[in-house]
């Protein structure tokens, strides 16, 4: 499946899950600030991507799990260990901007449409079932 084909399906998922117009779903659009996704929409998006592409997504694999653990977060800020783990577990996400001011409350703002497309492409390439331990930080 080409990246354009993946993007087309991801766009349909987001139009259905978030009630946005197709034109709003660009590769650079952020799920929360641009497409107005709320926390519960992330669960809906996971379910819909699984259905659209026919693979399973483990808990915390696409979006971060409960990461509010003192090992990784202090005073609401993700520390170096937390950032390293996020990068290792979620290679589909660009954490460079987030790393400059890594407030936990802002973590959901880093997800773009491109993150989803990249995640799906990697999953399709791997062709393997989800690992349940992925990104389980808590």
């Amino acid at each position: 499946m080409t990246q354009d084909e993946i993007f087309g399906k991801v766009r349909t998922v987001l139009v259905d899950a978030l009630g946005v117009d197709e034109e709003e779903v660009t590769m650079g659009a952020r799920l929360t600030t641009d497409l107005h996704a709320e926390s519960i929409d992330f669960l809906d998006i996971v379910f819909r991507i699984e259905k659209a592409f026919g693979f399973k997504i483990g808990q915390g694999e696409l979006f971060p799990d409960n990461i509010n653990d003192p090992k990784y977060v202090q005073d609401g800020v993700v520390n170096a260990n937390g950032l390293a783990l996020l990068r290792e577990r979620m290679p589909h996400v660009d954490f460079s901007e987030f790393a400059k001011n890594p407030k936990l409350e802002k973590v959901s703002e880093i997800f773009t449409v491109a993150s989803l497309v990249s995640f799906v492409a990697a999953k399709l390439q791997a062709g393997s079932p989800a690992k349940s331990s992925a990104a389980k930080l808590a």
Partner: protein, 175 residues
Amino acid sequence: MRWLWIDAILLHEPAKRLVAVKNVSLAEEHLHQHFAAGADGPAQPLMPATLMLEGMAQTAGILVGSVRNFAEKVILAKVTEAVFEQDVAPGQSIRYDAVIERLDDMGASTKGVISRWDHRDGAWTDIGRTEIIFSHVDQNRAGLELPEHNFVFGENFRAILGGLLPRGAGQASAR
């Protein structure tokens, strides 16, 4: 007393499907306001679609809760679809037929079909459909502070759950 919008559970296929029924009676106060007589014409008592949605949410929520013996706090998270194509009037019955599409630690997605029984026809007619997502709220990412006891499947749900509810289920963490 919690509002219960189902009267009985008719069928339970564990982890798959739950079917419940509600009988609509003119004795229900809310029907006299929905819709009352006015300048537009005589009273037209009809079951509000919002309460049918609540009935389906209770049916599907019980189904989702039953998968883990009511240990999880199952909260309605999102109604992704709710379509109602025909009305239900007093004297008719409503059937809520809910199935689980997907369930994991985070929550579950369900689909539902709402049907209406009319004694004159002696038949069920499909009148609506739903898609509802539930969250296992203790597992959610929002980090909400919630009571430890399971306030979703409390004591007042026991009458309707009947044989579905194992002894002590939903009460394990109650104080």
